[in-house]
């Protein structure tokens, strides 16, 4: 076997080479089906909440419900099992955001409720909120300047 010279530059390539290869088509199929299904469940909640609320509020509450359900499923260890075969299908919906909040919170509980749960909860949520808020303020200010 040829000896690899591991340098900073080719280390990433080396890791990709050694990673278990999973079929791209299978990945894409499950991402599509699982992602689509989560959105259909969301749509069902929108239809349900539309009975009592206006469409804007119904949409927000439906997403909120999905966030709560995903948090519980993460607690039961179910969501990570879905994630293993659904890939982006379970990451990109708002449920994936919820999973990214809850999962590290649970995992680092041993480090206490301040530096464990409180801090690690924002491991992924932090970057999402920081980028989201920044871009929203910038776009809003541009709209004010140029009268959008």
């Amino acid at each position: 076997m040829a000896q690899y010279e591991i340098t900073k530059d080719n280390y990433k390539e080396y890791v990709f080479e050694k990673m278990p290869k999973s079929s791209h088509w299978k990945n894409m199929f499950w991402a599509f089906v699982v992602g689509g299904t989560i959105c259909v469940i969301g749509q069902a909640f929108i239809e349900l909440y539309s009975i009592w609320f206006n469409s804007q509020d119904a949409s927000v509450l439906a997403s909120g419900t999905l966030v709560f359900i995903a948090a519980m499923l993460t607690g039961f260890g179910v969501y990570d099992n879905i994630g293993r075969f659904a890939g982006a299908g379970s990451t990109i919906p708002i449920t994936g955001f919820s999973n990214a909040v809850v999962s590290p919170a649970l995992e680092f509980r041993a480090e206490g409720y301040v530096y464990g749960v409180g801090a690690k909860m924002f491991l992924v949520a932090g970057p999402v909120i920081v980028n989201g808020v920044t871009i929203s303020v910038v776009v809003a200010l541009l709209t004010l300047l140029f009268g959008g």
């Binding site: 791209h24 989560i38 959105c39 469940i41 969301g42 999905l66 993460t74 708002i94 929203s136 709209t143």
Partner: protein, 123 residues
């Protein structure tokens, strides 16, 4: 019938957005956090041009449930408030529009970490 059509559109558009994400992951090996931020920014920029709201009108939850819908809601809220209250609105509108989702995520995250025991991930 119209309701049924809405479910079909939600499935196709929502699935389609996740499919695009999976293709990006397959070819770039981006981590989950980076994928989330990427789609959030994409949704936010599209909404900056007023486009993402149209997709939500068309596909309902198919466009609002993916994280790009979260980015859209932030920008939409900030722009709407900015038009009403100027700079003050630009600073408050985005987070105000997403406060429900973020609060539910934080509170349920706290709840789960109190109620459940961490489990070792299956290999």
């Amino acid at each position: 019938m119209e309701t049924f059509l809405m479910f079909v559109k939600a499935f196709l558009v929502g699935g389609g957005i996740c499919l695009v994400g999976q293709i990006i992951i397959n070819y770039t090996h981006l981590t989950n956090g980076k994928i989330l931020v990427l789609f959030l920014i994409a949704g936010a920029i599209l909404e900056g041009f007023g486009l993402y709201s149209k997709l939500i009108d068309f596909a309902g939850a198919g466009a609002s449930v993916p994280i790009s819908g979260f980015g859209c809601a932030l920008v939409k809220g900030a722009v709407k408030a900015a038009k009403q209250d100027g700079v003050y609105g630009a600073l408050t509108g985005g987070l105000a529009a997403c406060a429900t989702g973020i609060s539910i995520a934080i509170v349920s995250g706290y709840l789960v970490s109190v109620l459940f025991k961490p489990r070792t991930k299956k290999k």
